[in-house]
């Protein structure tokens, strides 16, 4: 019994060393140790949830941002003697919804913000994931143009110097990633 316990402790000790190594390497997996040990580290880490980087609000905290989109509808075919009154105007929207009045838990908002931040990091994600979803939200749409808008927070020194102005007035709007998707026709089998 004592031998079995000792063997168990020995095996557990091996796992302890391995797990600590994984927990130290994974947050910085792109570094040398991560690159050379990726084959033995990542399958385990990715299965149990150790595949995270602990970079909260870092290296720089994010500025206020959102996804702005414009939905375009097909041009109406104008036949002789008819007016073009059926043509639908483009619709502008934001994701996440601004001034959200929905009665949902705060976590829903957090999840939508997390999703938006994930999407705007790469135009491909907008094209392959966000675009098709928006097309489904607006049946009949021809295309959707999306852009990542960042409202920069003024530097602290600036905010202190111009105390009479609101932070909003001191901030600047910057457009980052832009992408347009067609809502008509099949999507390419493009990988992410």
């Amino acid at each position: 019994m004592k031998k079995v316990k000792l063997l168990f402790k020995a095996l557990l000790s091996l796992w302890i060393v391995y797990n600590i190594f994984v927990m130290l390497v994974m947050p910085n997996v792109g570094a040398y140790f991560g690159r050379v040990t990726a084959n033995v580290v990542t399958p385990y880490a990715n299965t149990v949830g150790l595949n995270a980087g602990w970079n909260f609000f870092s290296p720089e905290p994010a500025h206020p941002m959102y996804l702005k989109y414009t939905v375009y509808y097909p041009e109406a075919e104008i036949q002789e003697g008819e007016s073009s009154s059926e043509e639908r105007e483009p619709v502008e929207g934001f994701f996440p919804v601004q001034n959200d009045k929905r009665n949902v838990p705060n976590i829903t908002h957090k999840r939508e913000w997390a999703l938006m931040r994930y999407m705007v990091l790469d135009a491909k994600r907008l094209r392959l994931l966000m675009g098709p979803w928006l097309c489904r939200q607006y049946p009949g749409a021809a295309s959707i143009a999306m852009e990542h808008v960042i409202e920069t927070i003024p530097f602290l020194d600036q905010a202190v110097r111009f105390q009479d102005e609101s932070v909003k007035d001191l901030s600047k709007e910057v457009q980052s990633v832009r992408e347009t998707v067609s809502c008509q026709g099949g999507m390419d089998e493009e990988s992410l």
Partner: protein, 306 residues
């Protein structure tokens, strides 16, 4: 020499420990996950093909080096409601101390399945909560502070077995590594060095629950809190190991997370992180708190009887 080293290793990782701290942690962690999974009922469409991420792309959306070998989500999207209900029931049982390693294992798998199904909607509390649930699933977390003990009138409790002891230590190491990394990552940022990073957080209406722009009238507060945050995070492992600074460090952490929870609306993240603090508290202190709580609970009965 080797014998002495092994004895020290054995003592550190495998010596029996009180399971009370772990039980407090279980209540806080499982309670938080219970709340988060109840709110998931509002968002079940996030985990279906009608959302942003079709099932076939669920793993593909993760960074290449972070992709699991397989998906823990063994059920089809169509029964998400039922699976979330099962998860909520299991978490409720575990919060009450009913269940054990197997129940927590299954709970962890279902929870991990949801997290993998839509990786893009996860935030800090999901990731860290799931990680600690994984470690906790190897422990005797329901030995203390359990409804079952109350119903059965159990008054004698076991100390931790070898596996539970190792996992309690591993969770202590894990939380220390998380803090240290968050501090190191901040050092990469110019605005954290500059002392103004916290301004970008507090002046960001998307991140806060109230308007903090008044802080520009007291600008020195911002770098002070910013530097204290970095020092706290980087030195957490050292401060929590040394008994003289342990309680100061935990108190700092508590205020830090209370601030994040209240003013940034990240309460689940705060409670997940703080739940691990129970593992660093003196078991005698925890027993004393429990005894006092029992005394308060039994006082009205005694008064009634008198």
């Amino acid at each position: 020499m080797m014998k002495k080293l092994w004895a020290q290793w054995d003592e550190f990782w495998f010596a029996p420990q009180s399971l009370l701290g772990l039980a407090y942690m279980r209540i806080m962690l499982c309670g938080t996950l219970l709340y988060m999974n109840i709110t998931r009922f509002y968002n079940l469409e996030f985990y279906t093909d009608s959302s942003w991420i079709p099932r076939v792309r669920a793993l593909e959306v993760m960074p290449e080096l972070g992709r699991p070998l397989f998906m823990w989500m063994f059920w089809p999207d169509s029964i998400n409601f039922a699976m979330n209900l099962v998860l909520v029931v299991f978490l409720a049982l575990l919060t009450l101390g009913i269940g054990g390693r197997w129940l927590m294992w299954i709970t962890w798998i279902i929870n991990a399945g949801f997290l993998q199904r839509n990786y893009a909607v996860n935030f800090g509390a999901d990731i860290i909560g799931a990680l600690f649930l994984f470690y906790m699933s190897f422990t005797q977390s329901c030995e203390r502070l359990s409804l079952k003990n109350v119903l059965l009138g159990k008054t004698q409790f076991h100390q931790s077995d070898v596996l539970s002891s190792a996992m309690i230590r591993m969770m202590q190491v894990q939380i220390s590594v998380i803090y240290a990394y968050t501090g190191w990552e901040k050092l990469k940022g110019g605005s954290w060095w500059d002392g103004t990073a916290l301004w970008s957080v507090l002046a960001n209406p998307q991140m806060t629950t109230m308007d903090f722009s008044f802080l520009r009238h007291f600008p020195w507060v911002i770098p002070v809190i910013g530097y204290v945050t970095i020092l706290f995070e980087i030195y957490f492992p050292a401060m929590v190991v040394w008994h003289r600074t342990r309680y100061l460090c935990l108190l700092l952490g508590l205020s830090f997370h209370a601030g994040i929870g209240i003013f940034m609306g990240l309460m689940p993240f705060a409670t997940v992180m703080v739940s691990t603090y129970f593992l660093f508290l003196d078991p005698q202190l925890l027993e004393a708190v429990l005894a006092k709580a029992r005394a308060v609970l039994h006082r009205p009965k005694a008064t009634q009887a008198a």
